[in-house]
């Protein structure tokens, strides 16, 4: 478990975290807690963001102009900061997705051969 987490951490650092966030924002704006919940549930609990990593990451992505945050106030609720993908972000997402797919396919080709 420890080992897994450490490995995942490294993967996240290498950029997959960015890919995850950008993907989740592709179709609709979401707030931070929503993002963290989605990552956790959709990965079956395997991927989990630390609070102290998630929000700085969101800040960085926003700083690069890939996403844009906006405070949204609704009656009876506290205000929340929703993030949406920018045009630049969409470009990055497309390119990262390609890279990722190439990477996964490469891995798969190798592992499949080994198991055949």
């Amino acid at each position: 478990m420890q080992h897994n987490n450490a490995m995942l951490d490294r993967e996240l650092k290498k950029g997959s975290a960015e890919l995850l966030i950008l993907s989740l924002l592709e179709n609709e704006p979401r707030h931070g807690y929503d993002l963290s919940k989605l990552i956790e549930t959709r990965s079956g609990g395997l991927l989990k963001f630390r609070v102290a990593s998630l929000y700085p990451l969101l800040y960085r992505l926003e700083h690069r102009g890939w996403i844009q945050g906006r405070w949204v106030e609704k009656a009876g609720q506290r205000r929340r900061r929703y993030y949406k993908l920018t045009a630049a972000g969409a470009g990055v997402l497309a390119s990262q997705r390609n890279t990722w797919r190439d990477f996964v396919e490469a891995i798969n080709r190798i592992t499949r051969v080994e198991h055949a």
């Binding site: 931070g32 807690y33 963290s36 102290a52 929000y55 700085p56 800040y59 926003e62 929340r80």
Partner: protein, 881 residues
């Protein structure tokens, strides 16, 4: 992106609240929800766990139950976190603890020694009022000399500034008839001396003024140690008669253990009264000076006032006894402690100065390390601050960490100091006064520990708090790599460390250089294969003639032993601590003005002394067995004396006498080489050697002599034969001070060896600390510039050039430090003028060699991290960004 910190803060608190609400909605208990929410933060520490509470306190919503639970911060948690944090970085923790421990240990140990010897009052009642009164004979340039019995009595009766006044004279007594004969260290005193030094008895009584009156029974007081050793602690010893110097003496008391009575080195074993009789006070004996005068000032009387009063007393003596004081007579009143310590303080203050510099270097080092650590943690701290942790909260956490390190360092340092004080006392030469009073001093330990902890707090917490105030954005930006202020401080610290260690190093270099030169000094005789001992025939048993026979028997029997090449004797052996001057007259100048009256070192020697010692004879012959009472009197002079009194004449055949009224002429028959008498670094003095068998005056008494035995084998193995021979001639005759000549010379170098050794240790410590400091700053700079270095390497920069760039950066600090250090050393080593020998305190060679050595060490400290930097793969380096 203004005010991002507050914005992210709000997002995070919402996140946590959401999490808590969700968990509760799913049926979790309050505690479970809190725990799970805490886990969400996963910053691995209790400090952060408070964050939720802090956040909520400032939240617009009313505080929830979870917020209260988050408030359970605790000291234990802080401690656990601190220990865990240090454990994660063992190199840092070890370096800080070791630095602290060494600095605290060394400083506390040296300061304990200085405090016990120099600073603490002497262990006597009203010690600050105790003074010594010395005599001066200005016409013959004699200062701080002991006084005669008559002069002491005049001081006592004519002065009005003292509460009490006493006199003493170190002596030695042969104890016989109590098992093996033994020569006991003793002192003859006035009864008034006991209350002066607060000495009291375990049994019996101390000596009293009445015991100094003539015609009283011979009495003595024993030390506790000798009472235990020689009399088995028998309480019946009071009233018993024992043979001291062959005369029956009644023991009247035994002093309490721990009575400190030593005015010099050796604690006396026996106290006997000075007999103040008509003989002692007679005109004849007014010039026979042997007593040291100790007095206690009346309350409110200053040394200056006492000096003024004693000037009047001295003037009255010159008026009343004009024939005795033709050349004048004055006194010097001096504080007892200052007097005892006069030649000890310089060396100790030198060591204290050096160890203080080491402490300063250590503090600078710790400061530098903590600054680096604080810098490395600035991100963590900034996040915590952004998460809402109050600065006081972060401060407490960091304080805890600093205190944990300081406490461990202090504890190890204390143990080290405890051990070091014992080692110092064991290592220190025995002639350092008050050495037995040295113990680890609690106040010193407290002071040093407090200082080191303060360093830890100031440099560990202050920059961290600064970081907590810093712009989070900056701190979090991966690319950010400058906190300029901290950087400048760190570089300044390294420069200071290099400068300070250069001062210590140069000091040590000067002492080592001096010591080496001193060891090369030839004493003027051959000290190898010489066994020496002292034989003191008691005057009660031995007339002068009988003593001559005793010595002759000892010589002949020892000389017949196999392996013994030569045996001879002298009253004041070189490096024995003995010596004495005497005035005489030149035949050509019988009535010199007082200021030109010859007064030189006069020694009594047996036949064959010069050949036994291998002192070269320049001209003429030495003393032979044919020089007796019945043959013409002869003398041998050394070159220094010959050059002083007969600079352009042949000294052979010149005559001197010791009594002008009825001169008995001693004819110079030989000129011997000069020798070093007291220490290797003292100038060679003029010396006049007279045969023991040709005494100066009628009614001459037996004199104690040092016997020198030259052997063809290891000289210590002759000690048994020596005891055997003396015991076979006179079983009641003890011998003492059995030592080889080489040991005596070695002991004379003791203080110097001690100071040199310690200063070298401190220098090594200083250099190590400075090297750690340089390494630390360069390694840190390299880490900070990883990206830049990667880019340079990727763009094709030669590794050699990158290496040079990094080393040059580090060496700039080293060179700045050396420049400052050289200036500092030039100023600081001036105080070492009295400690160097054969070189000046600003010896260029020493300065150069030490500076180059330090620069090399600095260069190595730069090279290690620099090499690591150029080994980096540029791609990895860049990806790390």
């Amino acid at each position: 992106m203004p005010d991002w910190g507050r914005s992210v803060n709000e997002e995070m608190q919402q996140h946590l609240d959401d999490r808590y609400d969700e968990l509760r909605a799913a049926g979790a208990s309050h505690e479970e929800a809190v725990r799970a929410t805490r886990a969400e933060l996963d910053l691995d520490e209790p400090a952060e766990s408070r964050k939720g509470a802090d956040v909520r306190e400032r939240s617009t919503r009313p505080a929830s139950a979870a917020a209260v639970a988050f408030g359970v911060g605790d000291v234990v948690g802080d401690l656990r976190y601190a220990v865990r944090g240090l454990g994660k970085n063992p190199l840092f923790a070890t370096t800080v603890v070791a630095t602290l421990a060494l600095a605290i240990g060394a400083t506390a140990a040296i300061f304990s020694v200085v405090n016990a010897i120099v600073l603490r009052p002497l262990p006597y009642p009203d010690a600050d009022r105790l003074v010594v009164v010395w005599g001066n004979l200005p016409s013959i340039h004699l200062q701080d000399i002991v006084v005669s019995g008559a002069e002491y009595v005049d001081f006592r009766d004519r002065s009005r500034v003292f509460d009490a006044i006493g006199a003493y004279d170190p002596a030695a007594f042969n104890l016989t008839g109590q098992g093996e004969a033994e020569r006991l260290n003793g002192v003859v005193v006035t009864g008034s001396l006991f209350p002066l030094v607060g000495a009291r008895t375990a049994i019996g009584r101390v000596l009293q003024d009445a015991d100094n009156q003539p015609g009283r029974a011979r009495v003595a007081v024993l030390s506790h140690a000798v009472w235990q050793r020689r009399f088995g602690g028998d309480p019946g010893v009071v009233g018993r008669l024992v043979a001291l110097e062959g005369q029956l003496t009644e023991i009247v008391g035994v002093l309490r253990p721990g009575t400190v009575f030593a005015f010099g080195e050796n604690e006396p074993d026996v106290w006997m009264p000075i007999v103040i009789d008509a003989e002692l006070l007679s005109d004849n004996n007014r010039g026979s000076r042997t007593y040291t005068v100790l007095a206690r000032l009346k309350p409110g009387v200053t040394i200056a006032q006492a000096q003024e009063a004693m000037n009047h007393v001295a003037d009255s003596l010159v008026r009343d006894y004009p024939s005795h004081y033709r050349g004048g007579f004055t006194t010097t009143v001096r504080n007892l402690k200052g007097d005892i310590l006069s030649d000890t303080t310089a060396g100790l203050y030198l060591l204290l100065g050096a160890v203080s510099l080491v402490l300063a270097i250590a503090c600078a080092n710790i400061a530098g390390l903590l600054l680096v650590r604080a810098h490395a943690r600035r991100k963590e701290i900034a996040i915590r601050a952004a998460l809402g942790a109050r600065r006081s909260r972060i401060g407490r956490q960091l304080l805890t960490e600093s205190l944990v390190v300081s406490t461990i360092g202090g504890g190890v340092g204390l143990a080290l100091a405890f051990w070091a004080v014992k080692a110092l006392v064991a290592l220190a030469p025995a002639d350092i006064p008050r050495l037995h009073e040295v113990a680890l001093d609690g106040r010193v330990v407290a002071f040093t520990a407090a200082l080191s902890m303060l360093t830890g707090i100031v440099f560990g917490v202050a920059p961290a708090l600064q970081a907590s105030r810093a712009d989070l954005t900056e701190a979090l930006k991966e690319g950010s790599r400058t906190i300029a202020g901290g950087h400048r401080v760190r570089r300044a610290l390294v420069v200071a460390e290099v400068a300070l260690s250069l001062v210590v190093l140069i000091g040590a270099g000067l002492l080592i250089n001096s010591f080496a030169r001193l060891q090369d000094v030839a004493p003027g005789f051959d000290p190898s294969h010489l066994l020496t001992f002292r034989l003191a025939p008691s005057t009660a048993k031995y007339t002068f003639e009988k003593s001559e026979q005793l010595y002759a028997d000892v010589f002949s029997q020892l000389a017949s032993k196999p392996g013994v090449e030569a045996v001879a004797a002298i009253d004041a052996l070189p490096f024995s601590g003995y010596g004495g001057d005497r005035s005489f007259f030149l035949e050509a100048k019988l009535n010199p003005p007082p200021s030109e009256k010859p007064d030189e070192q006069v020694r009594f020697v047996s036949a064959g002394y010069f050949s036994a010692m291998r002192i070269p004879l320049r001209v003429g012959r030495e003393v032979t067995p044919r020089d007796t009472l019945r043959s013409p009197r002869v003398a041998v002079v050394n070159e220094a004396l010959a050059n002083k009194y007969w600079p352009h004449e042949d000294p052979i055949g010149k005559r001197v006498a010791f009594d002008r009224q009825e001169p008995a002429w001693y004819e110079v028959v030989g000129v011997a080489g000069n020798i070093r008498h007291r220490t290797l670094d003292a100038a060679e003095k003029p010396e006049l050697y007279v045969p023991y068998s040709q005494p100066l005056f009628q009614g001459w008494t037996a004199r104690p002599m040092f016997i020198v035995v030259r052997t063809s084998f290891q000289p210590t193995s002759a000690a048994g034969a020596v005891r055997e021979v003396v015991a076979s001639i006179d079983p009641d005759q003890p011998i003492s001070s059995v030592r080889t000549m080489e040991d005596r010379i070695g002991e004379s170098l003791g203080r110097r060896r001690f100071n040199t050794l310690l200063l070298s240790l401190f220098a090594a410590l200083a250099v190590t600390l400075a090297a750690i400091g340089i390494y630390g700053i360069v390694a840190f700079a390299v880490a900070e510039r990883t990206h830049e270095i990667g880019v340079r390497l990727a763009l094709g920069a030669r590794p050699r050039h990158v290496l040079a760039m990094i080393v040059a950066d580090g060496m700039a600090l080293v060179l700045a430090g050396t420049a400052l250090g050289l200036a500092g050393a030039a100023a600081a080593t001036r105080v070492m003028a009295s400690q160097v020998f054969g070189i000046s305190a600003t010896d260029a060679a020493t300065f150069a060699v030490v500076t180059i050595a330090l620069a090399l060490v600095g260069c190595c400290a730069c090279l290690v991290p620099a090499r690591r930097a150029i080994m980096l793969d540029p791609v990895t380096t860049l990806r790390a960004e």
